[in-house]
Symmetry: C2
Subunit: 418 residues, 2 copies
């Protein structure tokens, strides 16, 4: 007799569904497909020679520490380097006690869920928002409430109205999850005004702001807006998630959380039961890389590389997408993604299969909408593909959209004729 596993699963686990995106991404694995689907950094940005040198040094000088179990809080030296890193970024009040090293940001998101969410708790996210965060919060059966994103960030008027309604129902959110810089997937950046309004609402209603900042260092145009962590001035309303994945090495799975020491203490206790500690080996490597002072050069080089790719993708979209047909896209000032809107009548979910036939792939936008909308949208990544692939891929995609538009018009006239 085999067990009925389903009957043994927790309610949270029963709620965990296979990701639609993962199933779709399996279709994009053929070598002839040009994929704009992933969110991968370009491998040419990985500082392989530096890593080689540092690994040698770490194994020679501190293998007993680097290969052993480590403290849950993270490597002390790495935290000291991160204090300096954040000081250079206008966050001078951060001490090691404000920091926790994580097994990259996805673990931080899982921790946020574990520490804050009881089933049914209100959690505010953007429409659209990062699918990995939606997944992490759904795994704790949060009641995700979406607030539309405008070009300058969350729609504050809409958010205020929502908060008033939630307040009447005594359902004030535990936290608001935002990616204020070069949002994934929308590519938009929150204005200073929006950030300040968010903070003021956090104070008024008593919720935490989870600021996810994976792309913040990757700004290609315009002037940096102060981070929410900076604006918080250590008051403890903001918990910011950082990662080395987009500026150093994703394969190390290394990130860090910055926030109020009381919150950090709670997260440390949670992390103890989650993985004891983040691998000390890669923490030592990251610490030495920061000590060498290489990280700022690395970020500068990433910016130079990705800016050109972003500009090229925008140029190709301008050239290849049908004009005056209601097809628009965001013009991100940084990050890895831009977001495309088709006319409401066209489903990007359906068009995905046409795109695969044309050997080009994207991520369907609807996966990023917690309210089941966004079927006319899709996300494009420009950091991973080559220039050649961007040119050819956007051309193929333009053809898909054009065909779809013509098809829709035809079937519309056919309907009228019936």
């Amino acid at each position: 007799m085999s067990l009925d596993f389903e009957a043994l699963y927790s309610k949270n686990a029963q709620n965990l569904k296979k990701s639609v995106i993962r199933e779709l991404l399996k279709l994009t694995n053929k070598p002839e497909i040009i994929s704009f689907a992933g969110g991968l950094p370009a491998p040419c940005t990985f500082p392989v020679e530096d890593i080689k040198e540092i690994v040698g040094k770490v194994l020679d000088q501190e293998y007993m520490k680097a290969l052993q179990y480590g403290a849950t809080e993270g490597d002390v030296g790495l935290k000291e380097e991160l204090v300096k890193f954040l000081k250079e970024r206008n966050i001078p009040w951060i001490t090691p006690d404000h920091l926790l090293i994580t097994t990259a940001s996805q673990q931080a998101l899982d921790m946020v869920g574990k520490v804050f969410i009881d089933p049914g708790d209100s959690v505010i996210v953007g429409l659209p928002s990062y699918i990995g965060a939606l997944g992490a919060f759904n795994a704790y059966r949060a009641n995700l409430i979406g607030i539309p994103l405008l070009l300058d960030g969350m729609d504050v008027a809409y958010f205020k109205k929502t908060l008033k309604e939630l307040n009447l129902k005594k359902k004030i959110p535990k936290f608001v999850y935002v990616i204020p810089d070069f949002q994934n997937p929308a590519g938009i950046t929150f204005s200073l005004k929006t950030r300040k309004e968010l903070l003021s609402l956090a104070h008024e209603y008593g919720f935490i702001i989870i600021e996810d900042a994976p792309y913040r260092e990757l700004r290609y145009n315009g002037k940096a807006v102060p981070s929410l962590l900076e604006l918080d001035k250590g008051e403890g309303m903001v918990l910011t998630l950082f990662t080395f994945s987009k500026i150093f090495i994703p394969g190390f799975r290394l990130g860090w959380i910055a926030g109020h020491p009381d919150l950090i203490s709670k997260f440390v206790i949670a992390k103890q039961s989650m993985d004891l500690c983040t691998p000390p080996f890669t923490q030592c490597i990251a610490r030495e890389y920061l000590k060498k002072g290489e990280i700022n050069n690395r970020i500068r080089d990433n910016i130079a590389l990705y800016k050109v790719k972003k500009d090229l993708m925008l140029e190709c979209l301008d050239k290849e997408m049908p004009k005056n047909a209601g097809v628009t896209w965001t013009k991100p000032e940084g990050g890895l993604f831009l977001f495309t809107y088709l006319p409401e009548s066209i489903s990007a979910d359906e068009m995905f299969h046409d795109a695969i036939k044309e050997n080009v792939a994207y991520v369907i936008g609807s996966a990023f909408y917690c309210n089941g909308k966004g079927h006319n949208t899709f996300r494009l990544n420009f950091s991973y593909p080559s220039h050649q692939e961007i040119r050819e891929g956007i051309k193929r995609l333009g053809n898909c959209v054009k065909k779809k538009l013509t098809g829709t018009k035809r079937s519309a006239s056919a309907c009228q004729g019936d």
Copy 2:
């Protein structure tokens, strides 16, 4: 105004308490203290030169893969090597679909909690049992039910009685958590009979057996007993947690789960929202180490090293502990720990502070008892300390115990005199 963080925490997080052990361990950090408290492998077992060579090769030949994001399921090549590893260990039906790479066993324990436990669910553990597992399950507010351990494993008669009572209350456990080989902290090994009875009860009542096997490879005496995974023959009643921490490198945080593919699929979905993937960099290193065929040599060398230490500690205990005073300890056939029982009247929790004054440390046994008992017990680790430290440390500990016994006798006679 600062936020009232406590009011925002989930019920599970409110349940997460600071670990008593961690607080006590902080007292053991002074260099003059000989510590038997940790569960650390000896650093001389870390194959530093092999790692150096392999890292060079991995960075030369596959940096684009090793430093990039990876599949949630784990590195395909590493899983193939683990299939071979398990085949050599009499588990021939394992395929890559039976395996999931984890960020070491603590993540696997957290996953077990996430996938199976709703608040209040019955979960069976040993009295005593690994504190990290108790912590992980407590974080999901399991109702932990302890079954005493005998010298040949779980007390099956007691367990049967408990199951009958739970059955009447419709509270059949979701799973039973066991460490059948060289249990942490008790150092005992489950007999074949006990293992078979456990499996038969799992079939009868329909629960999963979580077999934690971190020490299984480290057998110093006697003959190996078939693992529960082997006895299960692929029927899916057993999910086994393995780790590289005790046989290769703890600082990589690498482990794997083996079990029924349907269960593994559920765990993969859970892991996606927990950390996306285990670091591909260290997975590639482990894969190459296995490919070199070095792991069996490494295990053989660890066994040689630890057997001598274990025997030395037993010899020292024989010499230093008071005779005929009700002080006993387990004689493990493998693993990293042995467990000491003082007379019921003596508190090892209180004696801890005396021990620290004598510059020797252990872990208080009560931390491993989910029922608040075990105050007369403590755990000793023999893998990390040197021979010299074992000799001197056990001498100091013997003195502590002797003083405590005399003190107890004195105060007893003082009482009688009153």
